[in-house]
């Protein structure tokens, strides 16, 4: 079979049949969420802060991982400055902890979108929403296990380091997809003054 990007694009963007209107109840109703705080203007700013925090947290985490399991290709890792790891690991924990209130606020700001109608307009829309599950679950898992670990409360049965390391790739991957899909909206929202913001 010959791979035809155009065919794929057409399939991904073909409109899906709309579900029956009778199912549009409760939180799915139009105008169900009225607070002006559920807005792109707020979400874009919280998203920017979270993106920076997660980026720093991911890079410092990778450094810590490869210091602890130093492969021979990383033999060039310097032993100076003496306090470098103090700073990078302090940043790792601080950015992770600061992300907890940021993530909670971000989720609250955008949660009306979980009841978007119709739930999936196209296949591409469905895939994008599915990847958000990975992002929310991954971010929640990282922040919770990290918090429990620094508190010395080993409430989980799995091995913390391995789980925290591999879930980081899933979370950052899902975050990059999220940034890609929201870039246009976020750039518009970030260049808008609060008083003009509509949504």
């Amino acid at each position: 079979m010959v791979f035809r990007p155009r065919t794929l694009t057409r399939v991904l963007h073909r409109p899906l049949p709309a579900p029956p209107q009778a199912l549009r109840r409760g939180p799915f109703r139009a105008g169900r969420f009225t607070s002006p705080l559920h807005s792109e203007w707020v979400a874009a700013r919280l998203g920017l802060w979270l993106g920076i925090a997660f980026g720093v947290c991911f890079l410092t985490g990778l450094y810590s991982h490869f210091l602890q399991n130093q492969p021979h290709w990383a033999a060039w890792f310097p032993s100076r400055p003496v306090s470098l790891y103090r700073v990078t690991q302090g940043l790792h924990v601080v950015t992770g902890l600061a992300s907890i209130p940021l993530l909670l606020a971000k989720l609250w700001t955008v949660y009306p979108k979980f009841w978007e109608w119709p739930p999936a307009r196209t296949l591409a829309h469905a895939v994008e929403r599915g990847s958000l599950f990975l992002l929310v679950a991954g971010a929640g898992f990282q922040l919770l296990t990290g918090l429990l670990n620094i508190s010395g409360w080993f409430a989980f049965k799995f091995f913390f380091t391995a789980a925290h390391y591999w879930t980081a790739y899933i979370t950052i991957g899902a975050m990059l997809i999220h940034i890609g899909t929201k870039l246009t909206v976020a750039r518009r929202a970030l260049s808008t003054k609060e008083a003009d913001a509509d949504g």
């Binding site: 470098l84 690991q89 902890l97 606020a105």
Partner: protein, 205 residues
Amino acid sequence: MAEHVPVTPASGGLSRRGFLTTVGAAAGVVTLATAGATVGPLRRLSPLATRRATVGPQDLPVNKSGAAARVTETAVDPAYRLLVGAMSLSLFELQSLPQHDAVLPIACVEGWSAIGHWRGVRLRDLLDRAGIGRDRWVRVESLERAGLYRSSEVSPTYARDPLTLLALRLGGEPLALDHGYPCRLIAPNRPGVLQTKWVQRIVAT
């Protein structure tokens, strides 16, 4: 959200800017309340810090005690010998080698850190005496029988750093058992879990 909504709700709730400021302040408070575990001057502002940098034997925190590592007998055994490659040293012989000082932090993966004043034998001096080459990686092994961090790998960059010590003393006293008596690895820029305590054997890998 297509329809226009007022920026400040009529009910007098939070404005968008007010909401952002509140969230930013919450993140700032979380940071200040915990960062004292590693940023000294913030210590008194950090009631939620997981560690106090000066609480512990010899004024330095400990994650794993000698009792938890089950070395309370082997570490103080008068027959203790340190093995470096094919070389074997008693504690007295180790104390008779040239001693050096290093002011280095213990920086834990959990985010806390604290400075210690260490004194002991340079790792590179021991490796030279044992005939272990300058380009070799070495493994430092503990008396601890089990445990994830009972040994650690040391790259040549770290092994040859003049600040990397097999420390015998901390703050002018012999190491406390919980800090790794009779001797422990202490190297610059290295996670605390790799600063192997109760060292028994050093081998080239």
